[in-house]
Amino acid sequence: MAIKDLPLEEHYIPGSAACPGCPASMALRMVFKAIGKKMIMVVPACCTSVIESLHPYTSFDIPLLNIAFEAAAAASSGVAAALETMGRDDITVVAWAGDGGTYDIGLQALSGAFERGTNFIYICYNNQIYSNTGIQRSGATPYAAWTTTTVGGKTEFRKEMGEIVQAHHIPYVAQTSIGYPEDVYRKVKKAKEIKGPKYIEILAPCPPGWRFDMSKTAEMGKLAVETGAWALYEVENDKITFNGKSKLILEGKMKRKPVEDWLKLQGRFRHLFVPERDEKRLKEIEDHIDMLWRRYRSWVGIEK
């Protein structure tokens, strides 16, 4: 998929409330392009509830229902059921939630909707924090990252949401990164054509939350993949395929960059480098990533 082939169609209207350099806005543009105007979006409490802009106006040119924090997947089941009774199979239901609303408070509703086979795409834009409330720790926050509730760095590793979702054996699960908008577009487009529950998670580097310059959002999204801190993959009917640089890393065709290359650009990991290098925690992070990749290789049968 070449960039030139992406449609001109825009449903994200300039002049929104998003922060400059916002990864969620970037991702939303791709979602809108991939699905088009025949969609209903359900949004729980998250940055997007702000990005939409203030009543009585909105920066999104598609029908959208804001819902309570933990309720996106359940409300989507309701929308999908109503559309089903109206015979409107031409409309795509998209739940669009942050990592807090997905990994944590919304996990039960999400699992329920997947288990009961709701026909929708659940998209988690993962900025690894509760950023809308002022950068608090979430279940997606990586080990050692500073947040306002983990002042000395988080003491636990993030959970693997992708694996939790895969355990539901839904028709389509994918991980992508806003560093690769064509990959985001392609995966959303593919999900749109599949009936049943679909899950897509987009890594969304947040300039104020991760403490990096707002011009570097795309770069941070790419580096996360190149260092192996994030993996691009898709699972179709339980068959997993790694994509892009993640595929090269998986197959040993590209050596993943040291995770430091990604960490040191982010103020949230600054305490790992100044006043002196925290070798212990840096090693723990590298080891954890190595463990994950061994695991990924075992999924595809490269490693037992």
Partner: protein, 90 residues
């Protein structure tokens, strides 16, 4: 604007829902058309949809709403976009 018989929190699509967000800018992206190779990287990464893609894949910038994040300048492979402090552009 379509009116409803009840008053509730219904919002309508509008360009500039938060006003002219171009006023948020500290640095302004300046595009050198001579260096542009029409790769559309700036267009695809722009968070605010303020890089306007034209029929021939050349682009221009919507300064009324561009927030000046600098992502476009950062992703441009030919450095055709440079960030210049507001008021200091030539």
């Amino acid at each position: 604007m379509k009116k409803y018989p009840i008053i509730t929190s219904i919002s309508y699509p509008k360009k500039g829902a938060m006003g002219k967000t171009g006023t948020w800018r500290v640095f302004k992206p300046i595009l050198d058309q001579n260096k542009c190779v029409k790769c559309l990287q700036c267009w695809i990464y722009c968070p605010e949809a303020t890089i306007i893609r034209k029929e021939d894949n050349s682009v221009e910038i919507d300064y009324e709403y561009c927030k000046g994040c600098g992502v476009c300048a950062n992703v441009c492979p030919t450095k055709a976009i440079t960030m210049v402090r507001e008021g200091e552009e030539k």
